[in-house]
C-alpha cells in the first residue's frame, strides 16, 4: 500500500522541479516539502551556526526548519509553498543571503 493507492488518487500529470540541479518529480497540489519527502530528500538546509542539516519538522508553518531557496528567493517555508512546474529549488546555507 502507498498513500496514493489508499485514497485511490488519480493525480493530475506529474511535473518536475529541479532541486540542487537534479530533477525531482512532484504531483499537482503537493507542497515542496511533500514532493521532496516523496523523492526521499529529507534535508535541504544547513543551519547558520553549526551548519547542521535540517528539513521539515512541524509540517505546518510554525517552526521554520524547512527553509529553502525557491527561484532565487531564500527563506521560503517548503511545507507551505506549493511545488510549481519548473521551479528551481536550492538547498539553503545559513540565512541564504550570503551567496
Amino acid at each position: 500500500m502507498n498513500p496514493l493507492r489508499l485514497v485511490r488518487a488519480r493525480p493530475g500529470a506529474p511535473f518536475t522541479v529541479t532541486f540542487d540541479n537534479r530533477e525531482i518529480q512532484a504531483l499537482p497540489g503537493q507542497s515542496l516539502a511533500a514532493a521532496l519527502w516523496s523523492s526521499g530528500v529529507t534535508a535541504w538546509r544547513t543551519t547558520r551556526g553549526a551548519e547542521r542539516a535540517r528539513g521539515v519538522f512541524c509540517g505546518i508553518g510554525v517552526c521554520f526548519d524547512c527553509l529553502v531557496t525557491v527561484d532565487g528567493r531564500p527563506d521560503q517555508r517548503a511545507c507551505l509553498v506549493p511545488a510549481a512546474p519548473g521551479a528551481v529549488v536550492r538547498s539553503q546555507a545559513g540565512t541564504g543571503h550570503d551567496e
Partner: protein, 469 residues
C-alpha cells in the same frame, strides 16, 4: 445580499471555524471565513490537495460524515452569498479601528503582500500546534512532529519515511500511528510515556467520543490489526544518525519518570514522529489584548473573550480535540450572530452543544491530570550539547549556564542571555523545552505579530494612531 447585514470575520477554517461559520451564516450575518490553507478543513479535516485527485480521501480520516455535513453547509452559504471563504490568507494582526475590527492578512504562498478586511466582530478559531520537548538528536532530519507527519500524509499524500517510530505522549499519537501504517509505512513502535491507563483514556479522547467506551477499544483494535507494537510508560531517550535519522534509543520509565537501568533498546527507523501534546495558537488574541486562561484564550459561556466583539472557539481556547472544537464553534457562531443582530442569545438554543462542551472539557481536564500524575523527568536526559532552541541553535548547556552562573530566574532573562526563543519561530517550538531545562515557569511570550511580516508591508501600513504600546 443586504449591505447592512453585520459582518463577522472567522479566522481559521478547522472544525471550530467551520461550525461557527455555518451557525452564524444561518442566523442572519455575513461571514468572512479566512484561513492560511488552500482548502478548508484545518488540521483534523485536512484534505489531499485537489490536484491529487483523491477519490477516497476518507480512508485517511475518521468522522467523515461530520466533515461532509460541514462542507455541504459551507458550500450552501457560499453559493447564497452569505459566506466568503478567503483561502491562502495568513492573518498577521487584528486591530480595532473606530468601532470596527481590521484583519490584516498576507496573501498567497509568497506572503509578501498584505490586504485588510474590516469586520464588525471577529471569531478566533486558529487551533493549536505541536509541543515537542527536546532530547539528544531531535534536530536530525527524519525527526518530525507527529502532527507534521500527519499533515504531509493527509495533505500531500507523502509518506515521511518507510520505517517509523511514533513517540511522545497524548491522544494524537494514535491516529498518526494508524494513519502511517495504513498508508504503507512500517510502524516499528508506538512509544507512549504514559502508562497503559493513560493510553486507554487517550484512545477514547482521540476518538473524541468518551461517552462511547467502545471507541477506545476501536483504536486498540486498529493498532493490533496493523501489528503496531505499543510500548507504554516508555520514552525515546535519543535519536541517532549522522546526516539523517537511523535509529532511536527507547527505555522504560520508572515510577519517578526516570529510565529504568538496563531497559534501553535500539530501534532502527528512518522516521521519528514525535509529539508531547498541543499548544493553543494565541497570537491574534494576544495582539487584541484578550485575557489568557492558562495556555489558551479565556472565554465565557458564550465563547466570548473579555474583549468586546471578539469571540474564540476550538483549540485556541484550550486543547481538547475536534468534537469539542465543533461544539465550541457552534456556540460561538450562534452567540455572535445573535449579538451582532441586536438580539440576546438564548442558551437553550445550543443546549446540546453546551452539554457536549462541558462534558469534553471536564474529560480533558481529567485526562491532563492523569498524564501529569505520571512524571517524566525528560529534562535530566537533555545533555549539555543538545540544541534546545532550534532556530538560534542554543544548547542546553548554555541555558543551564544562564541560570546557574548568571542567575537567570525566568524565561525572559534566559532569552536575553542566550537568544533562546529569539529566532524565526519566536519561541513557539522551544518555549516549553527551554523552561524545563532552565527549571523555570512556562510563561508564554507575547508575540505581537502572528506571522513574520516583510518590512515593506509594515512600511506601507497606514500611519493611523498606533496600537497601544
Amino acid at each position: 445580499m443586504s449591505e447592512r447585514r453585520p459582518l463577522l470575520a472567522v479566522i481559521g477554517a478547522g472544525p471550530a471555524g467551520l461550525a461557527a461559520t455555518v451557525a452564524a451564516a444561518a442566523r442572519g450575518v455575513r461571514v468572512m471565513l479566512i484561513d492560511s490553507a488552500a482548502e478548508a478543513g484545518g488540521q483534523f479535516y485536512r484534505q489531499p490537495a485537489r490536484g491529487l485527485g483523491a477519490r477516497r480521501p476518507e480512508a485517511l480520516h475518521h468522522q467523515w460524515r461530520t466533515w461532509e455535513r460541514l462542507r455541504a453547509g459551507l458550500d450552501t452559504h457560499v453559493d447564497a452569498g452569505r459566506v466568503t471563504h478567503l483561502s491562502d490568507r495568513h492573518v498577521w494582526c487584528v486591530e480595532r479601528e473606530s468601532g470596527a475590527l481590521v484583519v490584516h492578512a498576507l496573501l498567497g504562498p509568497r506572503q509578501t503582500e498584505s490586504a485588510a478586511v474590516r469586520a464588525d466582530a471577529v471569531l478566533l478559531a486558529t487551533g493549536a500546534y505541536e509541543k515537542v520537548l527536546p532530547f539528544p538528536g531531535w534536530t536530525l532530519p527524519g525527526v518530525v512532529t507527529a502532527g507534521g507527519a500527519q499533515a504531509l500524509l493527509k495533505g500531500g499524500l507523502s509518506l515521511p519515511g518507510r520505517t517509523a517510530v511514533v513517540a511522545g505522549t497524548g491522544p494524537l499519537l494514535l491516529p498518526v500511528a494508524t494513519g502511517l501504517a495504513a498508508a504503507g509505512a512500517q510502524v516499528v513502535a508506538l512509544v507512549e510515556s504514559a502508562g497503559p491507563k493513560g493510553l486507554a483514556r487517550g484512545a477514547r479522547a482521540g476518538a473524541a467520543a468518551p461517552a462511547k467506551l467502545a471507541e477506545g477499544a476501536a483504536f486498540a483494535a486498529r493498532l493490533a490489526y496493523r501489528r503496531i507494537p505499543v510500548m507504554t510508560r516508555h520514552a525515546v531517550l535519543e535519536a541517532h544518525g549522522v546526516e539523517r535519522l537511523e535509529s532511536v534509543t527507547v527505555a522504560a520509565l520508572d515510577a519517578d519518570g526516570r529510565p529504568v537501568p538496563g531497559s534501553q533498546r535500539r530501534l532502527s527507523c528512518d522516521t521519528l514522529a514525535v509529539g508531547h501534546g498541543l499548544l493553543p495558537h494565541t497570537d491574534l488574541a494576544d495582539g487584541l489584548g484578550c485575557r489568557l486562561d492558562g495556555p489558551g484564550v479565556w472565554v465565557d459561556a458564550e465563547q466570548r473573550t473579555d474583549v468586546p466583539g471578539v469571540w474564540a472557539a476550538g483549540e485556541t481556547t484550550g486543547v481538547g480535540g475536534a468534537t469539542l472544537s465543533l461544539a465550541e464553534g457552534h456556540i460561538a457562531g450562534r452567540s455572535a450572530a445573535a449579538r451582532l443582530t441586536g438580539r440576546i442569545p438564548d442558551p437553550d438554543g445550543w443546549a446540546p452543544a453546551a452539554r457536549t462542551r462541558d462534558r469534553l472539557r471536564a474529560f480533558f481536564t481529567a485526562l491532563d491530570a492523569a498524564y501529569a500524575a505520571q512524571p517524566v523527568r525528560w529534562a535530566e536526559q537533555v545533555t549539555a550539547e543538545t540544541v534546545v532552541c532550534r532556530c538560534e541553535e542554543v544548547s542546553a548547556g548554555a541555558v543551564r549556564e544562564s541560570v546557574d552562573a548568571l542567575g537567570a530566574g525566568d524565561l525572559r532573562t534566559v532569552k536575553l542571555l542566550t537568544r533562546a526563543g529569539m529566532g524565526w519561530c519566536q519561541g513557539r517550538m522551544c518555549e516549553p523545552g527551554v523552561a524545563g531545562v532552565a527549571g523555570c515557569a512556562l510563561t508564554p511570550a507575547r508575540r505581537l505579530l502572528a506571522r513574520p511580516v516583510p518590512l515593506g508591508v509594515l512600511a506601507d501600513a497606514p500611519t493611523d494612531p498606533p496600537a497601544t504600546p
